[in-house]
């Protein structure tokens, strides 16, 4: 057999078979392969195929056994699911789960309680702050309103005073007016009296001196002035008067 022929082992592959080469035939027949090589190859291949077949059968048997075993186990499990062991296992698992659940529930409850308390504290603080703010605002409003009221009162007082003053002023004005009227009337009456007196005096003078010489009239006028206290005294007219 030529060196190129691979050893055929338990596992025989298509690639191995494809790769097989044989030495050319020796002697006179130049066509074909060396028969001894081919015989050896065929024998080894046959052995390998037999071994593979055996293994296939064994594997199939194992598979069948396994399937039977699985079925047997399944049946047993189905049967056993009602048995003591399975029920015990289920019971243990159930207890463990309940324990876990209650632990988690306790933690959740604790966290809920803490959160509720935190929220209460927060709401309380907020409420207190709001109340305080409200109270402060109420107080401020009361003070403001009180001030407003006082201002209003003051305004009211002032208005009253103003009214009174206005009234007083009006009265005073009226009094002043009536006094003014009285005085004006008095003045007018006095003027009329004085005018009447003066007219009477002038009439008297006219009667006394109306036909007199212009010089005498002038002298009469001068004398009249003198009787009023005039310093401009003419000795001659004085004498004239005295002469009368």
């Amino acid at each position: 057999m030529a060196d190129t022929t691979p050893p055929i082992t338990d596992t025989i592959t298509g690639a191995q078979l494809s790769a097989v080469t044989f030495s050319p035939a020796k002697g006179l027949a130049r066509n074909g392969y060396e028969p001894r090589d081919v015989d050896t190859f065929l024998r080894r291949t046959a052995e390998a195929v037999d071994r593979l077949n055996d293994r296939l059968t064994a594997t199939q048997q194992q598979l069948q056994n396994a399937a039977l075993e699985i079925q047997r186990l399944r049946d047993r499990i189905d049967r056993d699911s009602q048995t003591q062991h399975v029920q015990q296992a289920i019971s243990v698992l159930t207890t463990a789960q309940i324990t876990a659940d209650s632990t988690v529930a306790q933690a959740d409850q604790y966290s809920a309680r803490v959160m509720e308390q935190a929220r209460d504290v927060y709401e309380d603080a907020r409420h207190n702050a709001a109340t305080l703010e409200q109270e402060t605002e109420d107080k401020a409003r009361a003070v403001y309103q009180d001030a407003l009221r006082r201002v209003a009162d003051l305004e009211h007082d002032n208005e009253e005073r103003l009214t009174q003053l206005t009234l007083a002023a009006t009265i005073a004005e009226q009094e002043l007016d009536s006094q003014t009227i009285y005085l004006r009337t008095l003045r007018d009456a006095t003027r009329v009296q004085i005018e009447t007196f003066l007219h009477g005096l002038l009439d008297h003078l006219a009667e006394e001196y109306g036909q007199a010489h212009p010089m005498a009239a002038r002298a009469a006028t001068g004398r009249a002035t003198a009787t009023n206290g005039s310093a401009a005294t003419d000795t001659t007219t004085t004498q004239t008067v005295n002469a009368r």
Binding site: Q97, A100, D101, V104, A112, A118, A130
Partner: protein, 372 residues
């Protein structure tokens, strides 16, 4: 479910449930984890909420077992949503086995081969509807979206507005909700939140209010930091805008129930706007946490009227009282599309008052969410 004796199933379920719903659920999960330990990782450490969910789902399925039209959409949503937990088709037989073992355990002597066959057939239909919907959804959307926190804005000590950016757009409708898992701080805990912005971009605004003892709300409000990642589940919910309606809108929101209203207003603004009255109620001025945004909306859009009322704040200059009372008494809403969102108590009283005020029941939309 023509070949299944549904009456017998209901009767058997009543027998089983008589042992106490929590007992039954405990047994179910213990069996499941014992037989298939790898499924334990899909659930949170504390299972109380999970058991409630299971019982709730089972009751709903068994109650509606005769009404396929009710049941199938619910199961399809459930299947689609379960992808976020890492549920794959291969998990369904395990759950079926645990369910049957549980039913058999609590049925005692009343268990029969016929019951076993009927339950197996019924579960097969349920699992088929769920896993079928999940496989369909897998062609169009991921099991969940990764989202990174961009901003955490603490409006008060117990209300935060979070902005997250998803790895790819999450195709929700304005008003719909998504489930959120704080992946690093609360793995495998999912809760519903509603985006407060209209869809389209990769950023989502979430309004979170701290619930005392609530693990996810605490994680969101107090423990979230920019850079941290969340997982977001697929969108659900039917409280959305009617694209064919031209009617005016009334929106009544309590506290973080404001989020879907803001998303819908964003959508309305995009679509040209419709006369909208938004009544927002908070306990106090402090809890009126989004006034800047509301004032901005009011100023920007002439078709919006925003009224903010407080129920417990004597110093608030605006209206006082429960927001439902104020909204219902403020006008004739009988020709409006009405949306209500808030705490369950607020939604209940508001809906009642609006009905009394003459709004037809079909025109009032609100969301009832169970646990995510």
């Amino acid at each position: 479910m023509t070949d299944i004796d549904t009456a017998a199933l209901k009767e058997n379920f009543a027998v089983v449930a008589a042992h106490g719903p929590d007992e039954v659920a405990l047994y179910f999960y213990s069996y499941l984890f014992l037989r298939y330990p790898q499924t334990r990782d899909m659930f949170p450490p504390a299972m109380t909420r999970q058991r409630d969910r299971l019982v709730g789902a089972l009751v709903r399925i068994v109650t509606n077992v005769d009404r396929v039209d009710e049941l199938v959409p619910y199961l399809q949503d459930l299947g689609r949503d379960h992808r976020k937990f890492g549920t794959v088709t291969a998990h369904y037989p395990a759950v079926g086995e645990a369910l049957l073992a549980t039913l058999r355990h609590f049925s005692g002597d009343t268990w029969t081969d016929d019951l076993a066959a009927d339950w197996a057939a019924a579960y097969g239909l349920v699992a088929g509807a769920m896993s079928g919907a999940a496989e369909n959804a897998a062609h169009t959307e991921p099991a969940y979206w990764e989202a990174e926190i961009v901003e955490v804005d603490h409006r008060t000590f117990d209300i935060a507005v979070l902005t997250v950016r998803t790895d790819e757009p999450l195709p929700y409708l304005a008003g719909q909700s998504i489930s959120v898992e704080p992946t690093t701080t609360r793995p495998r805990e999912w809760r519903w939140f509603t985006p407060a912005n209209a869809p389209g971009g990769r950023e989502i605004e979430l309004h979170a209010r701290l619930i005392p003892g609530g693990s996810v709300s605490t994680a969101l409000v107090r423990a979230s930091r920019p850079g941290e990642t969340f997982r977001l589940g697929p969108p659900f919910g039917r409280m959305t805008l009617d694209p064919h309606s031209q009617r005016p809108l009334l929106m009544v929101a309590g506290s973080t129930g404001l989020a879907p209203m803001k998303a819908m207003i964003g959508q309305l603004a995009r679509d040209g706007g419709r006369p909208t009255h938004l009544y927002f109620g908070a306990r106090s001025e402090r809890e009126a946490y989004d006034q800047l945004a509301l004032t901005a909306l009011n100023d920007r859009h002439p078709w919006i009227t925003v009224v903010t009322a407080t129920s417990d704040d004597t110093r608030w200059p605006g209206p006082h009282g429960p927001i439902g009372d104020i909204a219902a008494a403020s006008g004739d809403w009988s020709d409006h599309d009405v949306y209500v969102c808030g705490s369950p108590a607020m939604v209940e009283t508001t809906v009642k008052q609006l009905l009394v005020a003459g709004v037809p029941e079909k025109d009032i939309r609100f969301e009832e969410f169970g646990q995510a």
